[in-house]
């Protein structure tokens, strides 16, 4: 006769009860969701019950999924360009000893300098080494602490090669990405959407997920711009870009007029990182504009500059385009100002947001963009629910018709199985996607496998005229090996999917994997319990499986 230990029943009851408890909020999704939205409002969902819902993926609730790559190489290139300007002006003073000085190979991740007199190369290296702790090189806002020995300097004949050490490069990359994630988060928050996810992915990538957003246009307009704002001195203005630019000067086009070019001083008077605030406003003609405030030190710089340059133009440059170049009419001491341009109200709003959130340290590229409208998501949920319901009913009926009472045992186990999966998804905070629902439906079909294996074995034993209890015992024993092998192999597939899959596919692997675990649990423990109870209390003379 079967043994019913207290521990066994206790364990099964606890697992079933708690999974029912944790799965329950999902069966009243909208009620619980409303409660989570307005915790203060009275709700029909009682407080003592858990209210953790299964997170729905973007494909089910609608939203925008965006994979971005931060162009960190650009930052490194910029650093070397910067360094070259400084190194050159320092070496030029020693031209007598060094001969001609030339930068060769401007590929970006290194600085190669060729000098005329190779016998004095050590002298040049000594000069360059002074830059090894240059604060200038890493002085911008996102640099973190300044480190010594940033540069690896090597020489061959008359060529000096300067590179960053790998470690330095990684640190730099990390800082750029972290800063980017921060800026992206600030900008996405400005859209006022609920629960955006912004996470770093891999070495250079950022994944942005904004549920509930119907279109990606607004998001791209916010994220696609670096929003690097500088105020530069204007050297001259012309209708062609053929300026005789000096090393510390740069040619920049106009944002509004394709035939207008400015020659500007490279080093800005003040830049956007010194802004303390930016708000959309209107200029004296009632046209949309953006007003801003500088921090005290920049306000002083800006004040002094305007005092000394009354009557000459200065340029407001955004992302390498001059948006306007007003003439300084008077001394501006207060550190506040206004940017005019040919803005629409929307554009001035957006520019204010961009300036408030700060400039991205590097340009970002959109690698992957998926927008799912809310209608489609809702329909996917409905379709998934319906398919799960119909599929479930079909399987339940088929099992009942094939195995009779034992089929009903398996069916109850199957339903508990689904509840277990839902509970685990809620507890683990996993995301349910449409392929995830498919995974659950597939689990419904495959979950009965373990039961079928056992039942078929029991049948065979009955045919051999074993006693009832022996048939069941041996059936379970012999089927175990197959059950383990069969489920381990499917588990392998689920695990591989989890690590290689992205987005919705990952959701599928999660429900498939959880389904495997719970189906083995229910078949080996719960169905077995039913059978044992049946034998114990009904004492059947013949077993009909």
């Amino acid at each position: 006769m079967p043994q019913l230990s207290f521990f066994r029943i206790f364990f099964i009851v606890i697992v079933c009860f708690s999974s029912l408890l944790f799965a329950s909020p999902n069966f009243f999704y909208s009620t619980v969701d409303r409660k989570l939205d307005n915790p203060t409002q009275p709700s029909s969902w009682p407080d003592f019950l858990p209210s953790t819902l299964v997170k729905l993926g973007l494909d089910l609730r609608g939203g925008v999924y965006m994979l971005l790559e931060v162009k960190t190489d650009d930052v490194i290139r910029e650093k070397f360009d910067f360094l070259w300007t400084d190194v050159r002006s320092s070496l030029v003073q020693k031209r007598k000893e060094l001969g001609s000085i030339r930068r060769i190979d401007t590929s970006g991740d290194q600085l190669k300098i060729e000098i005329g007199n190779s016998e004095n190369i050590d002298f040049a290296i000594k000069e360059i080494e002074k830059f090894n702790s240059s604060t200038e090189l890493f002085s911008s806002k996102w640099s973190g602490s300044v480190q010594r020995d940033l540069l690896k300097i090597s020489s061959l004949e008359n060529i000096i090669t300067i590179t960053f050490s790998d470690e330095q490069k990684r640190t730099l990359e990390k800082q750029v990405i972290e800063q980017s994630v921060e800026i992206i988060r600030r900008r996405v928050d400005e859209t006022g959407t609920r629960e955006p996810t912004i996470q770093r992915q891999g070495r250079k990538r950022v994944l942005v997920q904004v549920p509930g957003l119907g279109s990606s246009e607004e998001l791209i307009a916010l994220l696609g711009k670096t929003a690097k704002l500088t105020f530069n001195e204007v050297v001259s203005i012309d209708s062609s870009s053929n300026f005789p630019a000096k090393l510390d000067e740069i040619v920049v086009g106009s944002e509004q007029n394709n035939d207008l070019f400015y020659l500007l001083k490279k080093r800005p008077v003040v830049s956007g990182e010194n802004l303390t605030n930016a708000q959309p406003s209107f200029d004296e003609n009632g046209l949309p504009a953006v007003s801003f405030n500088f921090n005290p030190s920049a306000a002083l710089k800006f004040g002094n500059y305007t005092k000394d340059n009354i009557g000459s133009p200065f340029a407001i440059v955004l992302d390498n385009e001059v948006i306007s170049a007003p003439t300084i009419r008077s001394h501006i001491p207060g550190g506040s100002g206004i940017i005019t341009g040919n803005f629409s109200v929307d554009e001035s709003n957006r520019l204010a947001i961009l300036l408030r959130s700060g400039a991205l340290p590097a340009e970002i590229e959109v690698l992957e963009l998926r927008t799912i409208g809310p209608e489609l998501g809702r329909d996917s949920i409905n379709a998934g629910k319906l398919a799960a319901l119909v599929g479930g009913l079909l399987v339940l009926t088929f099992m009942w018709l094939s195995y009779g009472l034992f089929g009903i045992f398996a069916n109850v186990a199957l339903m508990l199985n689904i509840i277990l999966v839902m509970a685990l998804l809620s507890i683990l905070g996993a995301t349910l996607t449409l392929p995830g629902i498919a995974g659950i439906v597939l689990t419904i079909g495959m979950a009965v496998d373990a039961n079928v294996l056992v039942f078929e074995r029991i049948k065979e034993e009955i045919k051999k005229n074993s006693s009832i209890y022996n048939s069941i015992n041996i059936g379970y024993e012999k089927a175990l090996s197959s059950i383990v092998d069969a489920n381990v192999t499917t588990m392998i597939a689920a695990i591989i999917l989890f690590f290689f899959g992205s987005g919705p596919i990952k959701g599928f692997s999660v429900t498939l994997g959880l389904g495997i675990i719970t189906s083995v649990f229910t078949a080996l423990l719960i169905t077995r319990l039913f059978i044992d109870l049946y034998i114990l209390f009904y004492r059947p003379k013949v077993l009909r499986v």
Binding site: R370, L376, G384
Partner: protein, 320 residues
Amino acid sequence: MLLRGLFNQSKEIQFFSFSNVLSYISLGAILVSIILFFTLGLNYGIDFRGGTMFMVSSSEKIKVSDVRNTLSGSNLGDVSISQATNPLETLSAGTLTSTDNIFMIKVEKTEGQNIETKVKALLLNKVPDIKFLQIESVGSKVSSELVRNGMLAVLFAVISVLVYIWLRFEWQFALGAVFALIHDVILTIGVFSILRYEFNLSIIAALLTIIGYSLNDTVVVFDRVRENLRNFKSLPLLKVLNMSINNTLSRTIMTSVTTLLALFALYFLGGDVIRGFTFAMIWGILVGTYSSIFVAAKILLILDVKRNWDEKESKAGTQF
């Protein structure tokens, strides 16, 4: 009960009496699939090809040729348009009504926002009440990574399975199982090549699940083979294999049927978005069930298995 005893056939089916013919058919199908893959190729989705896909709906009938003409003159690269079978025809609860026409429009270019705005404007101009249900854009950098990851995943799955079966059984079993898997994967790719269904990320997921399922089936048969080899030491291998397949036949059919029932529900009711995935799965279950009998067991027969399972020196073949 109605179905009870349906599979309780007392007569043994002689599976290997017609297995030679089937082997040739299988080999032929594999060959054809490979040829199709290299000639006709697969209808890759934007996941793997890169590009931008618009899923749109409109209550008016959209003229495909009209839309094509509008778009193809706009420097967007390759343009393809297809009408989706309405996922909601069977559904009354949906927010979209069954009178909506749903179309998939794919263009080759990606360049983020510009393409999206451009196509949206062009389409709105042509079809004023158009609704954009889903827009996906995958750059070439990501799509090539997705292709690589997909292939790696399938390769990884096959190798891990090879190792697992080898540890649990013997190398002949591992080869048989893995060959059956490769058979299933190649045939699935072949079917996608013929039917021109879109081959995207979810199909890779389906392939991996098929690998898992097919193996599931194979392992159950192999498990019985191992047991019977122990119990019937003097019986010829062919008889042992045939007996094992017959022993497990009702289980094979039961599990296939329940899984197929669930999958058919998904196929007909689960909506258009996962229809390709469920199709791959249904095909995979059928092929997988076939291959565990006629490919995996057949290879075992060809390779011959050692029969001294009881000897202690063997580390493999641990039975729980």
